[in-house]
Amino acid sequence: MKRQIAISLVILFGVTTLAFAHAGEVHSYMGTITTLQEDGSFMLEKTDGTTMHVHVTKTTTYLHADGHAAKPSDLKVGSRVVAKISKDGKTALSIKMSPKKQ
């Protein structure tokens, strides 16, 4: 019984350590959009060649690099973006994209 409890505690510790690893950091990623979903989320090919799926929410803000307001519909496959990702490692707090063409 004691052994089972000890193993359970070790597993619990391991899982929580993994879950909270790197918590508290907000990262920004530069990259190019390779695929776009209907809900606005997209696949980002980062500048280091790796890819990540970026989720968006109602509170995600969109901006052009020159500070003008942008809309989710301004994102296209091939757009260069800088996504500031929240602590969960996948949800975008803000997405900055290339300046709007005049």
Binding site: S28, T47, A65, H68, A69, R80, V81, V82, S94, S98
Partner: protein, 205 residues
């Protein structure tokens, strides 16, 4: 001694014992700035803050006329001097999150309901026993800056993402943060970007 006097004495003794016990428990547990102030502390602090505002200032109305230029000036001022603790949006997302008491969300009624003069006094004189310093220099220039900040604080509930983005470019930055911002701008403008590992977004100091 009458029965009533004995009862009162016993009640006082119990009260004293409870107070000593609570105090001993607090001392043993220690104090942390991570906690939220208790209701009593918050009430006392707000009362002290109210008393700290000079009486003739409490009802004063902002003498600086609000124009788009004044608001832009105040926005830059806030981004440079205040956002480190209060966050660009004034919601207390900066270093103020670690303070005791925490920097408040100034877009909420608790701050918005304060008079112009009270906000001005807080900016100029600070609040004792909190992280809020007094920024006033006793000059007309300092007073003008503080009054413009009062206008900006009033604007916080309607702050737009564009304004926040502009403020981010004005926040004090380390050389590494400047470099990152320039790399991102160059990348978005279509320039080449050498592959690099992800890094933390600039901290706001």
């Amino acid at each position: 001694m009458s029965t009533r006097a004995k009862a009162i004495l016993a009640a006082v003794a119990v009260g004293v014992l409870v107070a000593i016990s609570a105090f001993a428990s607090m001392i043993r547990r220690g104090f942390s700035a991570h906690e939220e102030p208790s209701y009593i502390e918050a009430t006392m602090a707000r009362t002290m803050r109210h008393w700290a505002v000079p009486a003739d200032l409490r009802s004063e109305v902002n003498p600086v006329r609000l124009t788009p230029e004044v608001r832009a000036e105040a926005r830059s001022h806030f981004a440079d001097h205040c956002a480190g603790c209060h966050g660009n949006d004034g919601k207390g997302g900066g270093m103020g999150r670690q303070m005791y008491p925490k920097a408040p969300d100034m877009s909420l009624p608790a701050t918005q309901s304060l008079s112009d003069g009270t906000l001005f006094s807080i900016i100029e004189n600070g609040i004792r026993l909190t992280g809020m310093p007094g920024f006033g220099a006793g000059t007309a220039e300092s007073a003008y800056g503080s009054w413009t900040l009062v206008h900006f604080i009033r604007h916080l509930p309607e702050l737009t993402p564009q304004e926040i983005a502009e403020m981010e470019t004005l926040n004090p930055k380390s050389p590494a943060e400047w470099q990152q911002m320039q790399e991102e701008q160059a990348f978005l403008a279509g320039g080449d970007e050498a592959p690099r590992a992800p890094r933390a977004a600039p901290h706001q100091h």
